[in-house]
């Protein structure tokens, strides 16, 4: 009993600030909604935030379909959040999840279309593997460059995002365009589609994402590699003196991070989208940053943060249809949540939470390595 109590107390200590940051972000977003309500069809309406949040909630949790929608939207965010959280553990900021997501989705779509007639197990496994591999390769490049030359991963991964989107658009137009469609897209994935387990759309990727959370937790806490990743993140020099090669670990961490980003793209492709066309949304890549920060880079925290943002993404369309509040309010809420987490003194002052020196677990300073020389 007491053990459970201490455990809950410990969780609460970790979760207080993120929860209060969410509350404050929703409150500020409500002010923005009220002020902008003059531009909606209904005109100035002080209660609009309540109505909007009501339909957001209904769209996310109101009934079985809404709940499966939330879980389906949360799954890629979970993997994307893990990708960014893993990078943070090694002191790396992988903003390239958007590009790795696209690469994973593309590779899964191409292999899936090729194996559309193959047995389900083979088609699904091979397509998922292709997506993971594509993401890993795209992640390993900036990792290696960072470790070898000091080129900062924030800039190189963003550049790779843009380049990947353009080159994949070219590939789908000129290389792997499926015949018989009016616009450039890959062929149908047939048997490579992830099996639906529950309801209309709850596919195999959802439990896989949950499993991924615990695999990553095990990797970080229980394996030598996880220890080395955390050591490089805490102090690359100490890691080098302890016989760990930062070059290998930084490259490997970015490859693993990219692998998770690629998997996110693969499950979204094989479970939801079904074919690759240029312009498919890569918002997962950017939502994942907020997910990782809100989850405080801890896999379990990321699980809950992904469920929250999955709920936002699943509920937002209904909110926009019913209340005219643009879907982009979700991005604003995200920015506000990150703001209140980064500047937690605002939250502490508003809610009169006392400052405790211990309650910043996994606080990361990713800026530290900015523009510094290579670690290798």
């Amino acid at each position: 009993m007491t053990a459970l109590r201490t455990r809950l107390a410990a969780w609460w200590r970790v979760a207080t600030l993120p929860i209060l940051a969410i509350v404050l972000a929703l409150a500020i977003a409500a002010v923005i909604i009220v002020m902008s309500s003059v531009f909606t069809g209904a005109g100035f309406f002080p209660l609009l935030p309540l109505v909007a949040y009501g339909s957001l909630l209904a769209g996310a949790f109101g009934g079985g379909v809404a709940i499966t929608n939330t879980l389906v939207a949360a799954a890629p965010l979970m993997l994307g959040g893990l990708a960014i959280g893993l990078g943070f553990k090694a002191g790396l900021f992988n903003i390239g999840v958007a590009g790795q997501f696209l690469a994973g989705a593309f590779a899964a779509a191409v292999v899936g279309a090729r194996l559309a007639e193959a047995p389900v197990v083979l088609a699904v496994t091979a397509s998922m593997f292709a997506g993971a591999l594509a993401g890993a390769v795209l992640g390993a490049i900036p990792g290696f460059l960072k470790a070898r030359t000091g080129a900062h991963e924030v800039v190189t991964t963003i550049m790779l995002n843009n380049a990947a989107a353009l080159l994949l658009a070219w590939a789908v137009t000129d290389l792997v365009r499926a015949p018989g469609f009016t616009f450039p897209r890959t062929g149908d994935i047939g048997n490579a589609a992830l099996p639906v387990l529950l309801g209309r759309n709850l596919h195999l990727g959802v439990p896989l994402a949950f499993i991924g959370v615990f695999v990553l937790r095990w990797l970080l806490d229980r394996t030598t590699l996880g220890f080395e990743i955390r050591t490089v993140g805490a102090n690359p020099n100490a890691a080098r003196y302890a016989g760990v090669s930062p070059l290998v670990i930084v490259t490997l961490t970015m490859a693993l991070s990219g692998l998770l980003g690629g998997l996110a793209g693969a499950i979204q492709m094989l479970g939801v989208i079904g074919f690759y066309a240029s312009g498919i949304s890569a918002f997962v890549g950017f939502d994942s940053i907020a997910v990782a920060l809100l989850g405080r880079t801890d896999p379990i925290g990321i699980l809950f943060a992904a469920l929250l943002f999955g709920a936002f993404r699943a509920g937002a369309p209904l909110m926009q249809i019913e209340t005219d509040v643009p879907i982009e309010i979700i991005d604003i809420i995200q920015a506000l949540i990150i703001l209140f987490l980064a500047a937690d003194l605002i939250v502490r002052r508003v809610f009169r939470v006392r400052s405790r020196p211990t309650d910043t677990p996994g606080a990361t300073t990713v800026t530290r390595a900015w523009g510094k020389e290579s670690v290798a």
Partner: protein
């Protein structure tokens, strides 16, 4: 196999580039303008010891508010006044976001990369939100574009050239510049001789971000005359690469901006002025997607190797803590 193929192609390429340079130059200067302004922002921020990866978001937000100001007022006060107002609004937007960034990085001592991320995510959300609410449903255009002075380049493009020189002069020849650089290299030493580290950092960050705001104004008010969601398209990050390329000097960063502008312009010029001969066939055979991806790939290559070991300001990215033991 024709052994002379590669040298011949290279020769033809050089001749072609020499022929199109008069056409190429204004395009390059235009494309380099937002990059140069963003890079000046990066130089001023990092020289004072603050990393700013939010340049992208600042430019986007300023591009939007400047456009919105022109959009809302041009019917009443006329296009010229509305455009001027739009530029002012964009610069003020940049400065205000700079104030937020400085507060987060200097006063709160938050992680500076996260602070920049807040600007990027927030700017994308805010601009898309109000674009959908205000501009899209109206179905109307903005205040148009600022007319060009000469060579198809407008006042912001020419002002940028002057600003590059001015910032370079200020940074290396003025007392303020010396203080800014001192604060970025060794804030403790600067503090000891009576320089207010916090104030200098606030000044540099706000001034830099105001310039990034001008870069945003260029995009909507001088270059395109319209606003699209996420229209900065990574320019803020290319600007950061230009800062590294230019080794944290304004003139060098401008050179970087010109280089990236040139690679973007290449994709434009091969369509407008097709080359003749074998090299022409080769250039025309390259898909336009590749030309579009070229500046991004060049950025990676340059960051990774060509620059060599560029050394940033010593205190770059480290919040100053008066009480900390050095």
């Amino acid at each position: 196999m024709d052994v002379l193929l590669v040298p011949r192609l290279l020769g033809e390429l050089v001749v072609y580039l020499a022929l199109v340079i008069p056409d190429l130059l204004p395009i390059v200067l235009g494309l380099a303008t937002p990059l140069a302004l963003g890079a000046l922002c990066g130089v001023l921020n990092e020289r004072s010891g603050v990393v700013n990866i939010g340049i992208e978001g600042i430019m986007l937000m300023a591009a939007f508010t400047g456009y919105l100001a022109g959009f809302a007022t041009h019917a009443e006060i006329g296009a010229a006044a509305a455009l001027a107002l739009g530029v002012i609004v964009a610069v003020v937007t940049g400065a205000l976001l700079g104030l937020l960034h400085a507060w987060l990085c200097v006063t709160v001592r938050a992680d500076q990369v996260i602070a920049g991320t807040i600007l990027n995510v927030g700017a994308f959300g805010m601009t898309a939100y109000f674009n959908r609410l205000i501009i899209t449903p109206s179905g109307e255009g903005g205040a148009g574009v600022i007319p060009s002075v000469v060579l198809g380049l407008g006042p912001i493009a020419f002002a940028t050239l002057a600003l590059v020189g001015l910032v370079h002069f200020l940074l290396y020849r003025s007392r303020w510049g010396l203080r800014t650089r001192a604060v970025g290299e060794h804030p403790k030493a600067a503090d000891t001789v009576g320089i207010n580290v916090f104030r200098v950092r606030y000044q540099s960050v706000i001034a830099g971000c105001a310039l990034a705001g001008l870069g945003g104004a260029y995009l909507t008010l001088e270059s395109t005359g319209s606003f699209q969601n996420g229209m900065t398209g990574g320019r803020g990050f290319i600007a950061l690469a230009a800062v590294v390329f230019g080794r944290w000097t304004p003139l060098g960063a401008w050179g970087g901006a010109l280089l990236f502008g040139a690679f973007t312009a290449l994709g434009v010029i091969v369509r407008v002025r097709p080359a003749a001969g074998e090299v022409g066939a080769l250039l025309a055979a390259i898909p336009s997607f590749w030309y579009a991806a070229l500046p991004y790939l060049v950025t990676i290559v340059i960051l990774a190797g060509v620059v060599g070991r560029a050394v940033p300001p010593a205190a770059d990215g480290i919040p100053y803590d008066k009480e900390a033991r050095a």
